[in-house]
């Protein structure tokens, strides 16, 4: 994953649990990188190890932590200068989600070796849709739930999320039923 993701993990832990906890978690994960560079690719194992160590140190389940991280990701990327890109990608949550695949495709062209997930909007109405999430990485569905919550806050809308199909339970991929209002 790119350094941007690890930077976000660091920011989330440092701002919400303190700089010292981050130092402890980093040591526990065996990560000795002083500063992550946003556009540099790092092995996925670093991000997974950081989440695993954070879960252990903070006494929070990895699933809850990933959900919190997903929500934080929306704030973080906005603050890191990607806010305008997000603003340009849609005026409503559903418009944004509709543009998300193209956004990730463009990002993958710029960031060499990136394997971004895909998000397909199916059965879209004014107030509902099924979001089909596919990723080469395992176990990140809770992060998608957090991302959706973060985006709903950004677009100031009420959103209910139902995890209809789960890859962890044997489905081909994850499907989230979304309903506005």
């Amino acid at each position: 994953m790119y350094g941007l993701v690890n930077k976000a993990i660091k920011e989330l832990i440092s701002t919400q649990f303190g700089e010292e906890q981050w130092t402890v978690i980093k040591a526990k994960a065996g990560v000795d990188i002083v500063e992550f560079v946003s556009m540099q690719p790092y092995p996925d194992s670093i991000s997974y190890d950081l989440v695993g160590a954070a879960s252990e140190v903070l006494g929070t389940s990895a699933s809850d932590l990933l959900e919190a991280f997903g929500e934080y990701w929306v704030l973080f990327t906005g603050a890191e200068g990607y806010g305008e890109l997000m603003n340009m990608s849609g005026d409503t949550l559903f418009e944004f989600l509709g543009n998300l695949n193209n956004l990730h495709t463009r990002v993958s062209l710029t960031m060499e070796g990136l394997s971004p997930p895909s998000f397909d909007c199916v059965d879209v109405t004014a107030t509902s849709m099924d979001l089909h999430y596919r990723s080469v990485r395992a176990g990140l569905a809770p992060m998608v739930v957090g991302l959706l919550r973060g985006l709903a806050k950004k677009f100031k809308c009420e959103l209910s999320i139902e995890h209809k199909e789960s890859k962890a339970d044997g489905a081909d991929h994850d499907v989230f039923a979304l309903r506005l209002g």
């Binding site: 340009m88 543009n99 710029t110």
Partner: protein, 391 residues
């Protein structure tokens, strides 16, 4: 093939959301949905010049001049919004029409957003969003690089400050060593000298208790002299270190054996070693390391058992690992920290002589060579002192 592929006007408008079609009088015939949304004066029949000015090529305003520059890159500026369009002019001489095909020229997402553009305004195949993303990526990378470079600069400055303090501290240490060598020694010499004179002059007349007091005083002064010598030797490891040169350890250990010949003979000890390498070191200091370790091994031998000391070496990744093994009295691992501290002794002075300086000098010299020193031992089972040196 049944004919050439042509775009229906509606499809054309979708594919080229920023196009502007003009007639021979430079009036707008039609325009793309996005360029029209952002420039509402661009209505059919309106004069093109009311909405846009041509920045490049210069001096172009009429149909003929547009036609002459059909191969040029055009830069248009919207009079109201300030939006810049870049693109080319396709001229249909037969129909008397010109079509401008281009896209907005923006360099930041914020600039695009300020103009009222969104991602959906660009055709999927447009390179503009990718260009914006690339630009942003470069900016983020530059920001990260600048931040890292600033942190590196701070670390360099901190290191320079540390080196300055270290230099100052070394100067103080040298100054202290000079004081210890000369100024402290003089009163000690006076003390031991006059003490000896007293013994010579009135020693025979003194009772046993008074004579004991005098001997204790002279012995104390002599010990203080040895402590000063130890302190001086310890401080000189850093201040009087020599150059690192390729040094044959077989020669060094041979020299150590010669220097300790008397102690070896007296204790009936034996010093052996494996074939040793040539390493880049300060040979005088490394000789001191081996001499201190071997000398300790000879000193702390078990009663009735002659000391056996063996020096071996093992090559590791990027370093040499030396071991000095003996069959002596051993050391309780509880004293692992204490052993290398200056003036720390583990035994009663009367049983084993010494001031507790040797191992602290060993540690200091090995550290000066960027190596590590440690030991493993059990009481009664001998000791092995290990030290590493960079290859």
């Amino acid at each position: 093939m049944s004919g050439a592929f042509g775009l229906a006007p509606r499809l054309f408008a979708r594919v080229f959301p920023f196009h502007i079609l003009l007639d021979s009088e430079m009036r707008v015939v039609q325009s793309g949905r996005v360029v029209y949304r952002l420039n509402p004066k661009l209505t059919p029949g309106s004069l093109f010049g009311d909405s846009f000015e041509v920045q490049r090529p210069q001096g172009v305003s009429s149909f003929d001049s547009f036609s002459e520059h059909r191969a040029d890159l055009f830069v248009l500026r919207a009079r109201e919004s300030g939006m810049i369009l870049r693109g080319g002019m396709e001229v249909d001489d037969r129909e008397g029409r010109i079509v401008f095909l281009g896209e907005p020229w923006v360099q930041e997402f914020s600039e695009a957003k300020a103009l009222g553009l969104s991602m959906g305004d660009f055709p999927v195949n447009s390179p503009i969003p990718d260009f914006l993303l690339n630009q942003h990526t470069l900016r983020v990378t530059l920001r990260d690089s600048t931040k890292l470079s600033q942190e590196l600069q701070r670390e360099i400055e901190a290191k320079e400050e540390y080196e300055r303090l270290l230099k100052s501290s070394n100067t103080d240490l040298q100054h202290f060593a000079r004081i210890a060598a000369h100024d402290l020694r003089q009163p000690l010499r006076t003390l031991t000298g006059f003490g000896s004179l007293l013994v010579d002059k009135i020693g025979a007349e003194l009772d046993e208790e008074s004579r004991d007091y005098l001997d204790t005083m002279i012995a104390g002064a002599a010990r203080m002299g040895r402590l000063i010598d130890g302190l001086l030797a310890f401080s000189r490891v850093s201040t009087d270190g020599g150059e690192f040169v390729p040094s044959d350890f077989n020669t060094i250990i041979g020299g150590v054996r010669d220097a300790l010949r008397a102690a070896l003979t007296e204790s009936e000890g034996r010093l052996t070693w494996d074939e040793l390498p040539t390493v880049l070191v300060d040979p005088r200091q490394i000789s001191q390391v081996l001499q201190n370790l071997v000398s300790n091994a000879l000193k702390f031998h078990r009663a009735g058992e002659p000391p056996r000391v063996h020096v071996s070496v093992e090559k590791q990744a990027g370093s040499w690992h030396f071991s000095v093994r003996d069959n002596g009295i051993g050391i309780d691992p509880r004293f692992a920290e204490k052993v290398f501290v200056i003036f720390q002794r583990l035994h009663v002075r009367g049983v084993y002589p010494g001031e507790g300086v040797g191992l602290s000098i060993v540690q200091r010299i090995v550290e000066r060579h960027e190596g590590k020193v440690w030991f493993d031992s059990q009481p009664g089972c001998g000791s092995t002192f290990h030290f590493t040196l960079p290859e």
